[in-house]
């Protein structure tokens, strides 16, 4: 044994690490539990996984609880703001007034059948004030500590960009990963453009497990987003296209990965997605 190790054993550290640095005697404290294989395959990443134990939040128009393609929700709230822009979070009673959130939830459920689904409604009756409500809803979702937050929405309002960026970074560091839809049009919108989220665009293949890493950011991944049969309110189904529906495919696959490897931090989750992307590792 070296003298350093003896010293470490003789004088265990107490108290927090100094800011932004790593003293020699603290190296054990940041050991990462995951043992990485020589080559990360899809089998290693999610083989046999069902999403069990992973919480996925659908930040959207609400979700129809009990829809045959969605199943039971573990929780549902609606978020609004009062006259002074203070957030109001209430138990959900309205379900899904549009269908968009139910569609996203059904896609996640199809890929990760045993994950815990939560709905945070930021859109619904009276679609106005959506920027502030979106912000309040996202803040609430991050505070709840959901493992994954599916955001098939974005805002074009620049006034929200900085705040959204802060929330996205905070979520990333707290292992609450935002999976955000890229805008389908060439406009500036947020939060999908931030590198602390998993941003998703569409490909045209039919395979729900096919996804691609994009080496030309800001869109990082492409998921299935064209002609997708999705759950729709009233227990029905509808065929839909757009990045909104590609995003829950990546959220579902992420749920599988976290279900099998719950210890992964956000950076590692992104790395596993990269390593198992169709254009990186194929379908092994």
């Amino acid at each position: 044994m070296t003298e350093d190790v003896l010293l470490h054993e003789a004088q265990p550290r107490s108290g927090p690490l100094p800011a932004w640095s790593l003293p020699r005697d603290a190296e054990d404290e940041i050991a990462l539990p995951t043992e990485w294989p020589e080559r990360v395959t899809r089998e290693w990443a999610w083989g046999g996984a069902t999403g069990k134990g992973v919480s996925v939040c659908i930040l959207d128009s609400g979700v129809e609880d009990g829809h045959p393609l969605v199943g039971e929700l573990q929780g549902a709230v609606s978020v609004s703001i009062d006259e002074d822009e203070n957030p109001i979070v209430e138990e959900e009673t309205a379900g899904d007034s549009c269908g968009h959130g139910t569609a996203c939830a059904g896609i996640v459920r199809a890929i990760a059948p045993e994950c815990d689904l939560y709905s945070v409604r930021v859109l619904g009756a009276g679609f106005t004030g959506s920027g502030s409500v979106l912000l309040a809803g996202l803040r609430y979702a991050v505070e709840q500590g959901y493992d994954l937050i599916n955001m098939s929405l974005s805002t074009t309002k620049k006034q929200f960009a900085t705040l959204l960026h802060d929330i996205a970074d905070n979520a990333y560091f707290r292992r609450s990963m935002l999976v955000a839809a890229a805008h389908n049009m060439p406009v500036e919108s947020y939060p999908w453009k931030f590198s602390s989220v998993i941003s998703v665009g569409s490909h045209e293949q039919d395979d729900p497990m096919a996804f691609f890493y994009n080496p030309n950011p800001p869109v990082e991944f492409f998921g299935r987003g064209v002609g997708v049969e999705v759950a729709w309110p009233g227990g029905s189904k509808i065929k839909a296209s757009g990045n909104s529906f590609a995003t829950p495919h990546i959220a579902g696959i992420s749920a599988l990965i976290l279900s099998k490897h719950p210890e992964l931090i956000s950076f590692q989750l992104k790395s596993v997605l990269f390593l198992t992307a169709t254009n990186v590792a194929g379908s092994e």
């Binding site: 128009s61 859109l123 679609f127 959506s130 805008h183 389908n184 049009m185 757009g242």
Partner: protein, 214 residues
């Protein structure tokens, strides 16, 4: 007393064109969109911020004779969702959702099988929605179509912005009880003159302004 911004609006109304000419541009855009996508109908809806309603401004195909000017609350239906999320939505099998069927039937008497709806964004504002109804059933939707739809949406948004400005300018003229209409008419007349005549006209107006200002 007339404010400077009202005068500017009056001059703008005289120079940039009438509501009708912008409506014509919007109508042309819906015609081209309908033609390119091979759709049954295409329409542009403008958001009326004062009443929070969506208004049919231009329609090509089914309903073009009856629906112009029809209004409905901006927080309902697919168009309302697209407007508030500022995100396009492409749906097939719309008839599977009885709510949409009811909405459409009430508004238009026509229930589409599928639709594409895209927000019309200008700067940070959502001005309205472009809808394309019932592309040919045999064709599979592609990402190229999404791109094309986005290009149409940009063009439509610019036209809608112009229409919205023309509406505001004309509203100023109307609220001024005709006083500002003279200014608008002068601006339109001078703009329409040949170069040498315009120069003379502007000189004359300058002299007139000096005389009135004394």
């Amino acid at each position: 007393m007339t404010s400077e911004s009202e005068l500017r609006a009056a001059v703008a109304a005289g120079v940039v064109g009438s509501r009708e000419s912008f409506r014509g541009l919007l109508a042309a855009i819906t015609e081209v969109a309908r033609g390119i996508f091979g759709a049954t109908a295409s329409s542009i809806l403008l958001l009326d911020e004062e009443t929070n309603e969506l208004v049919f401004e231009a329609i090509a195909g089914y309903g073009e004779d009856e629906l112009i000017g029809l209004r409905f609350p901006s927080d309902t239906g697919i168009a309302g969702w697209v407007l508030s999320t500022r995100t396009p939505l492409i749906l097939d099998d719309v008839q599977n959702d009885p709510r949409f069927a009811k909405d459409f039937a009430a508004g238009t008497g026509y229930v589409p099988q599928g639709l594409m709806a895209v927000p019309l964004l200008y700067d940070e504002r959502a001005l309205g929605v472009l809808e394309v109804l019932d592309r040919p059933a045999q064709s599979t939707f592609s990402l190229q179509e999404m791109e094309l739809l986005g290009l149409f949406a940009n063009q439509s948004a610019i036209a809608l912005d112009l229409l919205s400005r023309a509406n505001q300018a004309e509203a100023v003229l109307e609220s001024g009880e005709g006083e500002l209409a003279v200014v608008a008419r002068l601006a339109a007349t001078v703009t329409g003159l040949e170069d040498d005549q315009r120069e003379a006209g502007l000189r004359l107006l300058g002299d007139l302004a000096d005389t009135l200002g004394r």
